[in-house]
């Protein structure tokens, strides 16, 4: 079965600085998709960024980018110019065709003013 691991239960970053959240996954599939979701205190689950495994180019969305290392099965999220509104739980998720999503345990990010 596929598993997703987020080894950092908590992280903190100074406002305007850069932080990287790690995610690794275990799969025998070659075709799959990876996602990062953000859950602020309001508890909404918000999609931050997604990556298709067949694409070598790392996905970027404004201040959010990923470092996708397929051979290492690693999918880290980099947040640049951190803002107070970035404080949230961040969940890494994996999905292969025809299968349900598998979520990691989450990383709680604090942004210090």
């Amino acid at each position: 079965a596929q598993t997703v691991t987020q080894s950092q239960p908590e992280m903190s970053v100074q406002e305007a600085e850069t932080v990287t959240l790690s995610c690794t996954y275990d799969t025998s599939e070659s075709d799959y998709y990876l996602f990062w979701y953000k859950q602020p205190p309001s508890r909404q689950m918000i999609l931050v960024i997604r990556q298709e495994a067949y694409k070598q180019q790392n996905a970027t969305e404004n201040r959010f980018s990923v470092n996708f290392q397929k051979a290492a099965k690693s999918f880290s999220l980099k947040i640049s110019d951190s803002q107070l509104g970035d404080a949230a739980m961040y969940f890494c998720a994996y999905r292969s065709p025809g299968q349900n999503f598998v979520f990691g345990p989450g990383t709680r990010l604090s942004v210090l003013p």
């Binding site: 998709y33 996602f35 689950m45 999609l47 739980m89 065709p97 999503f101």
Partner: protein, 114 residues
């Protein structure tokens, strides 16, 4: 124009009661889900359902049952509520055939058992 809406947002009830949480999506998705998020924020899938197949996480007690009157709705019924059922329950939907499509989540229902 909410994409996935679930009601109520908060539910406080006594142990032993039966309750329901409603979920509706207007995205035209063919698959809907229920997740339980515990106090440690871990997301556990309970059910996934499309018009063809209901997949149940085998660890979910049979006191929990999904009911889908149509493709746009997946309600969650819980019988004989227990203290351990206290959690936030999320409804979500997606297009099953397109694996690159994300799940869209409702805002969650915080269930508190007294």
């Amino acid at each position: 124009d909410t994409a996935v809406s679930q009601t109520p947002k908060y539910l406080v009830t006594q142990m032993g009661n039966d309750k329901s949480i409603k979920c509706e999506q207007n995205l035209g998705h063919d698959t809907m889900y229920w997740y339980k998020q515990d106090s440690k924020k871990f997301l556990k899938i309970m059910f996934s359902y499309n018009n063809k197949e209901l997949i149940i996480n085998e660890t979910v007690p049979n006191r929990f049952s999904p009911k889908s009157p149509d493709k746009a709705h997946l309600n969650l019924h819980i019988n004989s509520l227990e203290l351990g059922d206290s959690a936030v329950y999320f409804c979500a939907s997606s297009k099953q055939g397109n694996s690159n499509q994300p799940q869209h989540f409702g805002d969650g229902t915080r269930l508190s058992i007294l």
